[in-house]
Amino acid sequence: MKRKPIEALNEKARAIERLAEGERQTAQALSIPRMPQGCNTIFDTGWETNPRPTYPIGNCQASARDFHGCVGDCWWPAQAPDGLTNHKDFDAACPNIARDWRKLKYD
């Protein structure tokens, strides 16, 4: 008999196991590309990091000029307010980042 790699030891863990009853392993997550909606048609981070060796190197210059483009519906949501779920009206409070950056009080 094949030993289960992880065993539920308490009621909470057994409740979690019951939730998963009937589920089977699936490769769906890998077989169907559910690409996050972003700027690019290929989820290829770095596209916007201009690869040139001279000025302006790297990301957008100044970074404030690309801030709204990175909120919610585009790249790098971790560095910007979540504009699609938790801070949908972020743009109303900060329509001009270079002027309004002091109002950025988001997780």
């Binding site: 201009n50 000029r65 801030f67 743009d91 329509p95 270079a98």
Partner: protein, 352 residues
């Protein structure tokens, strides 16, 4: 003496008369010219901002109107009669902007029945009453999130009600309207949608992903670029231009020689022989030889959008940050920097 005086007076009168006649003629000519000038189509540039659109007069290069609205502006489309600009904001609102009064006259919301919609791609239908959007959606059932299939859907511009839809692969971010009732949906590949049948359907796929083509299909200027989509794409080694002709539906991939110019957006000169591409620089493109002929860093920094005056003499570069810089298209020297009220996403030209 009297006679001489009389003769002089007569001559003066005649001179006065001639002068008055000349003045009247000049006034008439000036008035005529002014009328002709006012009747000439005039460029207006629409700066698509946050909670606001600002209008710039292309003759004076000054801001002539502020249009407050709700949300962050993304796609726009122009009504066939050029009287209204439909403005998609916050991925679910569509505002109708009256171009005569520069006021929002109506707004619809796609969110309804417990579903939130996010529209990436917007195109008016030729019927003038409906529009198409590439939509992804989410809802909740019994406390669990429910994700809808990505669709291209037709909705009513009067109330936002979805009328018809067709499922498309994930990743569609832009729609291009083509004459004859077709749409090209721009995603990892291009999907041609026939909207003529009662149920819209995908009838053709133009591969891009397997060719390593990566594209950022947010910025393109169909009516300014002669009824075609023009957008830069990138392979691991080169830049190209993807073109979709809105009349024939033809798709063209034009690979450029040499080092790629990094570009968010591309505008063409009136004769379509020269392209101007912007991101951190303005790059001048020879569209026939498919080479980059000049590159100048942008003085105000990274910009998303570029547009051009209808005579091809001035470029309008901006959005991203809160500036719009007017450049001489020939010398690429900045002529004027306009400080806008908000950051922006794009700048569009409407000539009317």
């Amino acid at each position: 003496m009297r006679c001489t005086r009389f003769a002089l007076l007569d001559a003066c009168s005649r001179l006065r008369l001639l002068h008055a006649a000349r003045s009247a003629l000049l006034a008439l000519v000036a008035g005529g010219l002014a009328f002709a000038a006012s009747a000439q189509p005039r460029d207006y540039f629409y700066y698509l901002g946050y909670q606001m659109i600002q209008v710039v007069d292309g003759q004076t290069d000054s801001i002539v109107a502020d249009v407050p609205l709700k949300g962050f502006v993304r796609e726009v489309d122009l009504s066939a009669d050029h009287r209204f600009l439909y403005v998609a904001a916050s991925r679910h609102l569509i505002h109708k902007l009256d171009l005569d009064t520069h006021r929002i006259v109506s707004t619809i919301d796609l969110n309804r029945d417990g579903w939130e919609y996010f529209m990436y791609g917007f195109a008016l239908d030729p019927d003038g009453r409906t529009a198409w959007g590439a939509l992804i959606s989410r809802s909740a059932k019994d406390g669990e999130p429910v994700i809808g299939a990505p669709v291209v859907a037709q909705f009513d511009l009067a109330d936002g009600r979805i009328l018809r839809r067709v499922e498309v692969p994930w990743g569609v971010g832009h729609l291009v309207r083509v004459k004859g009732g077709y749409l090209w949906a721009v995603g990892q590949d291009l999907f041609k949608i026939d909207t003529n049948s009662p149920e819209p359907r995908v009838v053709e796929t133009h591969p891009m992903f397997e060719k390593g083509m990566n594209i950022l299909p947010f910025w393109e200027y169909p009516w300014e670029n002669g009824d075609q989509m023009v957008a830069a794409y990138y392979t691991p080694t080169a830049m190209g231009m993807l073109r979709i002709d809105q009349t024939s539906g033809e798709v063209r991939e034009e690979l450029f020689k040499g080092d790629p110019a990094m570009a968010y957006s591309v505008i063409l000169s009136p004769d379509r022989k020269t392209g101007y591409a912007v991101m951190d620089d303005i790059s001048v493109l020879d569209m026939d030889k498919r080479v980059v002929t000049n590159t100048v860093p942008l003085v105000e920094g990274t910009s998303y959008g570029v547009n051009i005056s209808s005579d091809g003499r001035k470029l309008y570069v901006g959005a991203g940050g809160s500036t719009l810089t007017v450049y001489d298209a020939k010398s690429l020297r900045p002529l004027k920097v306009l400080h806008m009220a908000t950051d922006g996403m794009d700048v569009r030209r409407i000539t009317r």
